[in-house]
């Protein structure tokens, strides 16, 4: 039982919660630790409150604290699959984590992180992935490295996402909510498409919503077309 906050494992966890050490990350809570185990990830550190450590000493990014913390080695997938998502400049970790979860639910390929995206292994992103980060670790690539048909989500495009004719593999490309994808990506993508929204509605959808809708539209609507 750890009884001092100066314990080295606790120091490591505190550092990782601040993302000050590359290559390792923290998963907080039973659900995430269970998801890690179910997907065959061995923890580098695993501490349960009351068993391995005094409960009040277990570091947590959650206001409510946590009963278990696991530390794992980051893994990275290669881009691939018939359908995947490429993100460019998506800086919100909650959005990145949720998109990892949606892609795991709807696509066979990983989320591919381009430049200026939030760290998918930060505590918020890991939590938002609800364990999907363990089932389908993200990939890293620049847009130029993507293989197959790239469809750039662009609110100025003329065609709806489900109407794009494309042969697999298809990579759905999404940019930051305000600025969208860089011009270079829009110019070089195989197609540009939009998600039709009401003219009297908001300027845009949340990028997580846009990714979920685009995935569903490709999987379900293209399947029928």
């Amino acid at each position: 039982m750890i009884t001092s906050k100066d314990n080295n494992q606790l120091k490591t966890i505190r550092k990782l919660l601040q993302r000050r050490r590359d290559g390792l990350f923290v998963a907080e809570g039973e659900d995430l630790v269970d998801a890690a185990a179910a997907n065959g990830w061995e923890p580098e550190i695993l501490l349960r409150a009351g068993e391995d450590v005094e409960p009040e000493l277990l570091p947590s990014s959650l206001g409510s604290g946590t009963r278990v913390v696991g530390v794992y080695l980051e893994r990275w997938s290669e881009p691939g699959g018939d359908l995947s998502v490429y993100l460019h400049g998506v800086r919100d970790p909650g959005n990145v984590g949720t998109i990892v979860r949606s892609a795991h639910a709807l696509a066979d390929g990983p989320v591919i992180l381009g430049p200026d995206c939030a760290d998918p292994y930060g505590p918020k992103a890991v939590r938002a992935s609800m364990g999907s980060i363990f089932a389908r670790p993200p990939a890293r690539a620049d847009f130029e490295e993507l293989q197959g048909t790239t469809i750039a989500l662009d609110r100025g495009a003329d065609i709806a996402i489900e109407d794009v004719q494309a042969t697999a593999p298809v990579v759905l490309c999404l940019g930051a909510e305000r600025t969208g994808l860089p011009t270079a990506v829009l110019r070089t993508a195989s197609s540009r498409a939009h998600i039709p929204i009401r003219p009297e509605g908001p300027d845009s959808l949340n990028v997580g919503m846009a990714a979920a809708i685009a995935l569903y539209a490709r999987v379900r609507m293209r399947a029928r077309a």
Copy 2:
């Protein structure tokens, strides 16, 4: 220029950020205050840092602080529209706010809040709505009061959301992520439907993603059917 933190307007804002006063709420930042103005909402209080108040005194729920804060009277819509969303037990304010935004983008009816939902006028929900809360204030109702065809999202249902035959008005009903809708709602809804996800995927989608997908599927896929 306000120069004391004991100013009454600042006290009101601090209370509202903690949601300790009903009927009023706070919008933080230029984008939200602009969205309020664009939709004809008059602020009860409007304070700009450096103009009306010493910048360091302006209360904010954001770590980074904010340059402008508006205080407004809550408004509530009546349920209505050909397509709307009913939420039951959706406790995360970010999800509630994002669903308000998605419904504004994709449907003509408001988000209807049933029991045990997060406060849509709390700071996180207002922020996640990205101003859509001003364009389309939410409604409040119990499930029994809903008019028209109710489609309950239920992962155990046999039919996909876009395949349900329904006459307008249609209300898409979503429950909490883990527990789903209560049995009473599942039994009484006009139909039950699911969002097909990969069998090897996660157990469920984020409720915000599910709402966005269900809305899009009804708007776009039913339009073609």
